[in-house]
Subunit: 578 residues, 2 copies
């Protein structure tokens, strides 16, 4: 059987940055060629970034993307890399809008495409057939589906090419191209991280490989893009289901692997399959060692996802530092450590903002955290700024509680405006769900690192991060007291979260059923939760939608995140038990 050396580049594109993204691909091509690869594949839309959202409807953007594909093919050739077959994912267009099937999408003028570059030419372009239009994906809004199939004959191996969702659909193009008896299937992906998604993704790749006795090479982009974190985790699986190579998660990586696919036969290709023949010629090199990364445990994967999501939001949006309020509580402590892991402690500014209601430990725990992590720390008492509002407006009760949170927000935003720090908002998913926060108060900020982690998950992460530090002989960064003390917003004397909310284990259980599993209130009660509690919680969730709409984005790490993953009206009058 022939040997092909594949290079899969896990690049980290920035949406819109055609020149920068192209540079990443050039860099990968140089390395791939130097290491003797026949073929380099990058992820779905690696040239344009993903998701491009409504940039897909801007003709000038599509033209620029197409020009960049041509330019890249020429640049590869000029750099002496013309022998390498390069498969690059990009948006393509503009095309005439087309009405497809029963859907009306007359505004889609783009395709989600992958082009094959060789000898300075764009040899062929494949467009994604199956367009995901659920969860965070809106591809039916953005793209016209492709209707042609492509097989490349490289060194007498037939290589079929598909894009992401194409692989997931039974009876889709994957089935069709494999009828062609291809020896290798390459799939370009932009598949965001979710907890436990690997339990679905790898088995799918393996099933496709084994059910057709074909080698499957799966290449994913990596990096944070707004609320999505692409985890990489590119993998090559052979027809027996064996993992031949696997890239590490959450980092840029060039995965190189030698594969031995079956040779092309002369049997006729199925209808509508285009065949192109390419023949890369370069000196052959000795077989390379296998590169198979091992996935870390769940909490570490989650931590790494949050770190990368935060780092890339900061970096790609041109910030150099972040600022956040340190309350001494668990949420702000975890956010501070995530930020330090993402950016280095020297780029993290923590501010303790005690009020008359702050306990002594709220300040000492914050200070303890700052010392352990080594971040910049300052104290700014808020009484002098709160009092004039109270004197002028005479606020009581909830209005007075919110006032404290809003004065802190003005302090943080003032410091942000003065020094250019990005403000992090530290609310967790449980709080966000029930609106347990002050809008324009503790919710202010450009990025919310743990918005998709429920309170119980925040505790688990804190425990894990401390244990991880210990396992490496480092000081656990999160003060034990921040983990063990009962949560409190400290906006009135002696306040604790469970004065207002059910205990977090109960709350998180109800939220899992109502938000993630989309059960109605009656069905949640049927699971065994207290009726009054369920009705209170679901009402809070419904009523907090207006706050969530005005909240910062943050990394989606679950199967159902607030944001574009869950779109519900603000104006909503629920019917009982619906």
């Amino acid at each position: 059987m022939p040997r092909l050396r594949l290079a899969l580049a896990q690049t980290n594109p920035v949406v819109g940055d055609l020149v920068g993204n192209s540079r990443q691909i050039m860099k990968a091509a140089h390395e791939a060629a130097a290491r003797g690869a026949d073929l380099l594949a990058v992820g779905e839309m690696a040239l344009t970034g993903y998701p491009i959202e409504d940039l897909a409807s801007r003709p000038s953007f599509l033209k620029a993307a197409r020009n960049e594909v041509t330019h890249l093919s020429q640049e590869l050739h000029s750099a002496g890399l013309g022998e390498l077959v390069v498969i690059v994912g990009h948006a393509d267009g503009p095309f005439e809008p087309r009405l497809i099937g029963t859907s009306s999408a007359p505004t889609a003028i783009a395709r989600n495409s992958a082009s094959v570059l060789h000898h300075g030419q764009v040899m062929a372009t494949y467009s994604k057939h199956h367009l995901p239009n659920y969860s965070v994906f809106d591809e039916y809004r953005s793209f016209i589906p492709g209707d042609e199939l492509l097989v490349m004959r490289v060194k007498n191996v037939d290589i079929a090419l598909v894009i992401c969702e194409d692989l997931w659909r039974d009876g889709g193009p994957v089935g069709r191209v494999l009828e062609s008896d291809a020896g290798l299937l390459i799939t370009l992906n932009a598949s965001p991280f979710e907890r436990d998604k690997d339990e679905v993704r790898l088995p799918l790749v393996t099933r496709r490989a084994t059910e057709t006795d074909t080698i499957v090479a799966y290449v994913n982009i990596v990096g944070g893009q707004d609320d999505l974190v692409f985890d990489g985790d590119s993998v090559v699986v052979d027809g027996s289901g064996r993992i031949l190579a696997r890239a590490p998660q959450f980092q840029e990586h060039l995965l190189i692997v030698d594969v031995h696919p079956k040779e092309a036969t002369d049997s006729p290709l199925p209808e509508n399959v285009r065949l192109i023949s390419l023949d890369p010629r370069h000196p052959s090199q000795p077989e390379i060692t296998q590169d198979v990364a091992v996935l870390p445990d769940d909490n570490q994967q989650l931590w790494n996802a949050l770190v990368l999501g935060l780092r890339d939001y900061v970096r790609k949006n041109g910030f150099r530092s972040v600022i956040l309020g340190l309350s001494g509580g668990i949420d702000s402590a975890v956010c501070a450590v995530l930020a330090a892991d993402a950016l280095g402690a020297g780029s993290v500014y923590g501010v303790s903002m005690p009020s008359q209601h702050s306990s002594h430990h709220s300040r000492s725990d914050a200070e303890d955290l700052a010392e352990r992590v080594g971040l910049h720390y300052s104290v700014q008492a808020i009484a002098a700024m709160v009092e004039p509002f109270e004197a002028e407006l005479g606020l009581h009760g909830l209005a007075a509680e919110n006032l404290q949170a809003r004065v802190r927000a003005v302090v943080l935003m003032g410091l942000s405006n003065s020094h250019g720090h990005l403000v992090l908002t530290t609310g967790n998913k449980s709080e966000l769900a029930v609106g347990y926060s002050t809008i324009y108060g503790d919710s202010v900020g450009g990025f919310a690192p743990i918005k998709d982690v429920p309170k119980s998950g925040v505790w688990a992460l804190a425990e894990w991060r401390n244990a991880f530090a210990l396992s490496r002989g480092e000081t656990p960064p999160i003060p034990e007291n921040s983990i063990s003390k009962p949560p409190s917003a400290e906006l009135r004397p002696g306040q604790q979260d469970d004065d207002t909310l059910p205990p977090y284990d109960v709350l998180d259980g109800i939220l899992e059923a109502y938000v993630t599993r989309k059960l109605g209130a009656a069905d949640v009660i049927a699971l065994g939760f207290d009726e009054t509690t369920v009705n209170e919680v679901t009402t809070l969730v419904d009523r907090a939608e207006w706050k969530r709409r005005q909240g910062a984005i943050g990394p989606k790490v679950s199967g159902m995140a607030f944001g574009r993953d869950r779109r519900l009206p603000i104006t909503y009058r629920p019917t009982k038990n619906s």
Copy 2:
């Protein structure tokens, strides 16, 4: 030719409120029956509200909706209205998720349906075939398309039934059902207002009627739902293109009209068309007079849309009053008058919050406005609250400017929390586009009445509203000085908007090209705008996305509103000329 008496009910549903929406339909049915109607039709999803967004993926909601359809049919019968044929739009399900065409929408379990109720029974249900998935619509995410057609034979007239987008698609079900030689086509709609949309909608209805020589009855819902304003404007057009009846815009209305459609023939129906026969029996009444509303001019339509959007947001979300800062400028003046028109001046609270940089006229113009309109007015100077922040934090430049806006926000939110007022934020579309506002400052609020009106449009509206008052012998509500003085944020001495921004006529021209027409920067420059100005403006627009994401919703009244109509990434590094 037989005579049919049609009743089209323009109801104003609340999303989720099955009981309340059903009550509206019962009320319309009582009146329709009393006036001798044979058939009553309400708008698309009038029973569930529209759009229901991801409620479409909640099985308990769909079951409750289906139960309510059954319940409504029984209730009509019990109330002695069983002879009336009632066509009601609703969400239906849950169905098994289905993969359709090349799109992957495995989560859709609902249909967008219309049921025919008669004699206490649900006689038949039609489901929408063509699902809009562009602009503000995400129906491919929400719904499984229908695949059956329905014709009702009522008093020996064949009546075809379609839903909204079905009417727009050439070669869609409309064509198919009209092959059946139907005498009447009823279309249920949830079609939001946009400026100049009537120039498209009525011609379409007319074209469908004339091209097939069939009477077309078009019934639309009315009312505000989050960012959408449904304008009603239900209409009946005959096969010669004549308007037989037309309901007024922006109000609930029962439109009753006698039509004389051609009789059913015995020619066989096209394949896949289901025929049901219904025979309503009640005493016939004399022919009724025609009810044909006349549309007001463009500015009045726009004003009415903004008033209804604001009123319904307030009312449907359980507020009784609104509060807003009055700066003496045009934007807050127009918002205050809109609120007074929507809710009555007694429900509007205006606060003047002068700072050291406020001109004398900023307070006197605000006071003048309050007197003209008769709204609640108070003055709350901010110096005493600004100074402690300056003393504690030492803010300068932009940080000090933003501070003033944020202190005003804390004041407004404090008053809102104390008194239960909804805070209105008064920014216009031009400001929102370029981020000319202070986040967590003047942008705070639950609703943004003029967020889709560019500055030049705000002036035009103010002039129109004043002229409208004069034409009715009323005092023009907006002080002339608020209209004529140069716009200023008054955050530093002598500041004017055009210190920072191009003149608004230039800015709005560039925004129209870049935002609405989706031209790239190079194409905008090619229209004749100054290159430097275009590059500055487009960069501001791109960079303000994070602020817009955290902004309040407000009524979409243009063909391209910020919000779900225009979805762009925050993290975006544009390539030159793309």
